[in-house]
Amino acid sequence: MDINASTIWTEKYRPRNFEEVVGQDEVVKKVQNLTKSLNIPHLLFAGPAGTGKSTLALIVVKELFGADWKENYLDLNASDERGIDVVRQKVKDFARTKAFGNVPFKIIFLDEADALTREAQQALRRTMENFTSTCRFILSVNYSSKIIDPIQSRCAIFRFKLLEKKDIERRVRFIAQEERLQVTEQTITALYEASEGDFRRVINLLQSCASISPSITSDLINTLIASAKPADIKIVLEYALSGDFLKAKEKLLDVMLKDSVAGTDIIKSIQKEIWNLPIDNELKVRLTEKTGEIEFRMVEGSDEFIQLEALLASFVLAGRGIVR
C-alpha cells in the first residue's frame, strides 16, 4: 500500500519528516537529536489527541531504518489488544529476532498506553526490561500521570502541546493550495474552533467539506460539525427538568445508541449544557456538582447508563416546581 497515494488526507498529509511537523518545535528538535545519535532510550510521548505523537514515532522509525522500517517496527494499540498478555506475546514474538540493518534495536510503538491498568503496566515494565537489549518502546499517552512511576523513570518524556491557531493555519493553507480549495480567515477560525486543537479532526473536517464543495466556508464547517455532534443532549435534560423521567431515559438511550456515544462523552456534554439551561444559577451550581459526582462514579462503577440515570433523576428532582 502506497500511503502517498492515499486519498485519505490524514494519511496523505501526514508529515513525513521532522521539518514538516508543526507546532511541536521543542519536542521535534530533541527527538531529532536523539534519532541522529542512533541510540534512543524508551520514549514517552504525552499529549492531547491529534497533536502528532504517532506521526513523530513513525518519522523516528523511518529515519532510523530507512527502507527497512516495516521489519523493525511493531505498532500496538493498548485499547485494542485484549489484555496485557496479548501485548506481551506480540512483543516477545517480535523481539525474538535481531534488528535489521545497522541499528542495534527494533522499535515498538504502544499507542494509548494509558488505557492499561496499573497491574498491566507492571507487567509491561517487566517486558520492557527483559527486551531492553533488542527493543525500544515508544509509549503514547494523553496523560503521563496515568503511567506508573517505574515506567516513567525508564523513559525520556516528551510533552506535546495543544496546537495553536497559527500552526493549524500553516498546514491548512498548504493543503488548500495542493487541493485547490478556497479558504478564508473565517474558515481557519471555524476549523480551529471545531477541532479543539486536534489536527486529525481539522483534516477530516476539511476533507469532508471539500467533498461537498471546493469553497470551504465557515458556514459549511459549522453546519457539518453541528450534525456530527450526537443528537442534542439538551432535549434529554429538558424532559428531565419537566419531570418526565421515563421520556428522558428513553431519549438518552436513543442518543447513546444511535451514534454509539460513550457515557463519558454524554456527561461531558451535560456538564457543558447546564450553564445554558433556563434555571437559576444556584441550581446550576448544584447540578454541576452532582454531574461531577456522577462522572466520578462512572469512572469507578461499571454501567455508565445506570449512572446517567441517577443524574437524570436528580434533574427531575431539581426541576420540580421550577420548570413548567
Binding site: M1, A5, S6, T7, I8, W9, T10, E11, A49, S54, L58, D75, N77, S79, D80, D111, E112, T117, R200, R201, N204, L205, Q207, S208, S211, I212, T223, L224, S227, A228, G243, F245, L246, K249, L253, L257, K258, D259, S260, I294, R297, E300, G301, S302, D303, F305, I306, Q307, E309, A310, L312, A313, S314, V316, L317, R320
Partner: protein, 402 residues
C-alpha cells in the same frame, strides 16, 4: 375439530371417595350435613385447587341432592342474588330431593350496600337448605359477621405425594406416559394446587415433555423475580429484605437490570431520585468488584439493590403492578446490529491510519466523506460497506441542506 374436555373437568371427583387427601374435611362436612338445620351454613376455607368445589359437588351427588350453584364473582349485585336465591328456597324440590346451595368463591362478594354480603347473611337465616360457601381467605374483615353464622372447615393444601398420585392416575386413564421426574416437577410446582397441576399436565402433554420443562424453568424464574420486585417495591422492608433476591436464580447483574427497568414505573419524584441513587451506588460497588476483584463488596452491591431500593419511600403502593422485563439489553443489541457496518469500516480505517478502533469510531462521522472510491479499494471494503457509506453521506447532506 373435536372439543377436548380439559383434564380438570374430565377428572373432577364424581363421588366423595374420589377426593384424595382431604379425609378429615370430608368427615366434618358429612357431620355438618347430619346436624342441619342446627347449623345452616358451612364455609370451606382454603387455597385454590385444594378441592373445595369438588367436595361440595361430590357431596350433593353422593347424597342425591340437587346442587344449586351460585358463583359470587358473576353475581355481584343484590338484584341478581334476590332473583336467583329466593325462589330456590321457597319452592319445593321437583322430585322431592333435598337441595344444597353452593356459594362458590365468596371472596368476590362485596360488603358495600350494593354488594351481596348482607343478602348472603340474611339468606342463611331464612334458608331451609344447607349452604356451602367456599372462600380462599375467610379471615378478611368483611367476613366477620358471616363467620359467626357459619361453621368453618379449613381445607389444606394437598401434599406433593397426593398430587403426584393424582397425576399418575389421570395419565393411566388417559393412556399416556410422562416420566416420573416430570410428574414430580409438576407436583412440586403446583404447591398443593391440583388444578394448576392438571393444567400443567395438559400443557406437558400438548407441548411435549422437553419443551414443557424448559418452559417451566423460564416461568419459575420470572415468577420469582416478580415476587422479588413486589417485595422490594411494594412492601415495607423487613429483616428479610437483604435476602429478597435469594430465590430468584438470577445473577445479580440481571437483577440490576430488572430493578433499573422498573424503578420509574413504581417510584416518582423524591422516591425515584433515592432509588436511582441507590442503584447508582450498587453499580459503583460492582465496578469496584470488577476492577479490584474484591468480592466482599458484593455485600454492599446487594444491600443497595435490596434495602436501598426498598427504603426509597415509606409510602408503598399495594396496587397490582405489572413488572416489565429489562428492555435495554435488547435495544443495545439491536443498535449494535445497526452499527456493525459502521464499526467494520472503522476497524479497516483504523488499521490503515495508525489509530485505535476506539478513536476511529470517534471519527466515524467523517468516514462517508473521506473514504472515496480510491480509498474504498485501498481499505478493501465490501459492497455492503460501500453501500452504507453512500447512503450515510446522502443522509447527512440532506440533513445539512435543511
Amino acid at each position: 375439530m373435536k372439543m377436548a374436555l380439559s383434564l380438570i373437568e374430565k377428572y373432577r371427583a364424581k363421588s366423595l371417595k374420589d377426593i384424595k387427601g382431604q379425609d378429615l374435611v370430608i368427615k366434618e362436612v358429612e357431620a355438618f350435613f347430619k346436624l342441619f338445620p342446627k347449623r345452616k351454613a358451612l364455609i370451606l376455607a382454603g387455597p385454590v385447587g385444594t378441592g373445595k368445589t369438588s367436595i361440595a359437588i361430590a357431596l350433593a351427588k353422593d347424597y342425591k341432592m340437587e346442587l344449586f350453584e351460585l358463583n359470587a364473582s358473576d353475581l355481584r349485585n343484590r338484584l341478581k342474588l334476590d332473583e336467583i336465591l329466593k325462589p330456590a328456597i321457597g319452592q319445593q324440590s321437583l322430585f322431592n330431593k333435598g337441595k344444597v346451595i353452593l356459594m362458590d368463591e365468596a371472596d368476590g362478594i362485596t360488603s358495600t350496600e350494593y354488594g351481596g354480603l348482607p343478602e348472603l347473611i340474611a339468606l342463611i337465616d331464612k334458608t331451609s337448605f344447607p349452604i356451602i360457601i367456599t372462600a380462599n381467605d375467610i379471615w378478611q374483615q368483611k367476613f366477620s359477621l358471616l363467620r359467626k353464622k357459619c361453621q368453618i372447615v379449613n381445607v389444606r393444601e394437598l401434599k406433593e405425594s397426593v398430587v403426584f398420585d393424582i397425576l399418575s392416575k389421570v395419565l393411566e386413564k388417559e393412556k399416556k406416559k410422562i416420566r416420573a421426574e416430570t410428574r414430580e416437577l409438576i407436583a412440586r410446582k403446583a404447591r398443593g394446587d391440583v388444578r394448576a397441576a392438571l393444567n400443567d399436565l395438559q400443557t406437558a402433554l400438548s407441548l411435549g415433555e422437553e419443551e414443557f420443562i424448559a418452559d417451566i424453568a423460564e416461568r419459575e424464574k420470572q415468577e420469582s423475580i416478580f415476587n422479588a420486585m413486589k417485595k422490594v417495591f411494594q412492601e415495607a422492608p423487613d429483616e428479610k429484605i437483604l435476602n429478597v433476591y435469594d430465590n430468584t436464580q438470577m445473577e445479580i447483574d440481571e437483577i440490576m437490570l430488572w430493578v433499573e427497568e422498573n424503578i420509574p414505573f413504581v417510584y416518582h419524584g423524591k422516591a425515584l431520585f433515592k432509588a436511582q441513587e441507590a442503584l447508582s451506588k450498587a453499580d459503583l460497588f460492582r465496578g469496584r468488584i470488577y476492577r479490584q476483584q474484591y468480592w466482599r463488596f458484593l455485600v454492599y452491591q446487594n444491600f443497595f439493590l435490596a434495602a436501598g431500593i426498598s427504603s426509597a419511600t415509606e409510602l408503598k403502593n399495594s396496587q397490582f403492578t405489572k413488572y416489565s422485563k429489562p428492555s435495554r439489553v435488547l435495544k443495545i443489541w439491536l443498535a449494535n446490529q445497526k452499527n456493525a457496518k459502521k464499526r467494520s469500516i472503522a476497524v479497516k480505517y483504523a488499521a490503515f491510519t495508525h489509530m485505535s478502533k476506539k478513536k476511529a469510531m470517534k471519527e466515524s462521522f467523517f468516514l462517508p466523506f473521506i473514504i472515496d472510491r480510491k480509498a474504498q479499494k485501498l481499505l478493501d471494503l465490501t459492497d455492503e460497506e460501500k453501500k452504507y457509506l453512500k447512503e450515510k453521506k446522502k443522509e447527512i447532506i440532506e440533513k445539512i441542506r435543511v
